[in-house]
């Protein structure tokens, strides 16, 4: 049994230290997914806490570290979609009003990174979630389809359309940059 599986087994038996280790190991993934979708750091933190509380209640049903990652991505994504539906009546933010995500690792090209973050944040809900799962989590379209309960072709079509849009907009924002 590897270390991650051992930690999971200990957490399922009620070891709080092991559960804390699991939270620390996955909190950036859950929080970033929520933050990119909700575009509100405080709300994202609240949602991420709810996800881990839910995980604590379902620890006995988690079979492996891979299943844990899949479960967290799936529950976070679906909670985000639900929260997005609840907030649907609120006006959409413009690109300039998008909040920053918080402490990010240093970027190769901060201007390009900031532009892309803002353009992704301005995408509609489902394409934004698909793009986030593809590039933040490095998931293949088939894996995204499983996480979101969506046909693979729909995922591919969201990706294709979003990339075309992002390419056009980034060229318009930053001038003649080859992307």
């Amino acid at each position: 049994m590897d270390l991650a599986a051992e930690t999971l087994a200990r957490a399922a038996e009620g070891d709080q230290g092991a559960f804390a280790e699991i939270v620390r190991g996955h909190q950036a993934m859950v929080y970033s997914l929520a933050c990119r979708f909700l575009r509100d750091a405080a709300l994202a933190e609240e949602l991420a806490q709810e996800v881990f509380l839910d995980l604590y209640r379902h620890l006995a049903t988690i079979e492996s570290p891979e299943h844990l990652r899949f479960w967290l991505r799936r529950v976070t994504s679906h909670r985000c979609i639900d929260e997005g539906r609840r907030r649907q009546r609120r006006p959409e933010l413009t690109v300039d009003e998008m909040p920053e995500l918080g402490a990010m690792p240093p970027q190769r090209d901060p201007i390009m990174a900031l532009t892309l973050q803002r353009l992704v944040a301005a995408l509609p809900d489902k394409p934004r979630l698909v793009v986030t799962l593809r590039y933040q989590e490095d998931l293949e379209p088939a894996e995204i389809a499983r996480v979101l309960d969506m046909p693979v072709n729909t995922v591919k079509s969201h990706l294709r359309r979003s990339l075309t849009l992002l390419r056009e907009k980034v060229t318009r924002c930053l001038g003649e940059v080859e992307v």
Binding site: Q27, Y31, E45, Y135, V177
Partner: protein
């Protein structure tokens, strides 16, 4: 794999939540466990609790002092919740300001690097050389 794929991967990296995130998740887990333990104790069952509450609100058992205490608890809880919300908001704003300063520093550093490269290039070519055509940096 296009350059846009690479740039998106770099731009959409994971970000860490505030440092006390794990501690607050564990506190919520502990609170939930404590509530479950209290309910599971013999003699502390929901029907008895409900009966006590019903007795309290029965007209004969109604006492002004109890009503006052209950109102004070409700007001204190409301004030506490408001204070907590304000604290969370202030902290989120602080985090946002910090992130903006970090980004501004990153942008300034990137621009300084470009300027430094141009100066070095100019020195290498000699004082009379024409400046190189503008190149879009990454």
């Amino acid at each position: 794999m296009s350059r846009l794929d690479d740039e998106l991967r770099a731009a959409l990296g994971r970000a860490e939540p505030p440092p006390d995130f794990t501690a607050r998740v564990l506190a919520r887990v502990a609170a939930e466990q404590a509530a479950a333990t209290t309910l599971a104790r013999p003699g502390v069952t929901r029907p008895r609790w409900r009966r006590a509450l019903a007795d309290l609100f029965r007209p004969l058992a109604w006492r002004p002092a109890l009503a006052g205490a209950l109102a004070a608890v409700i007001v204190a809880a409301g004030l506490g919740a408001g204070e907590y919300r304000r604290h969370r908001q202030e902290r989120a704003e602080g985090e946002r300001a910090k992130a903006q300063v970090m980004l501004a520093l990153q942008i300034a550093s990137a621009k300084l690097n470009v300027a430094q490269k141009k100066v070095q290039e100019h020195h290498r070519r000699g004082p009379g050389a024409k400046p190189a055509a503008h190149q879009q940096s990454n």
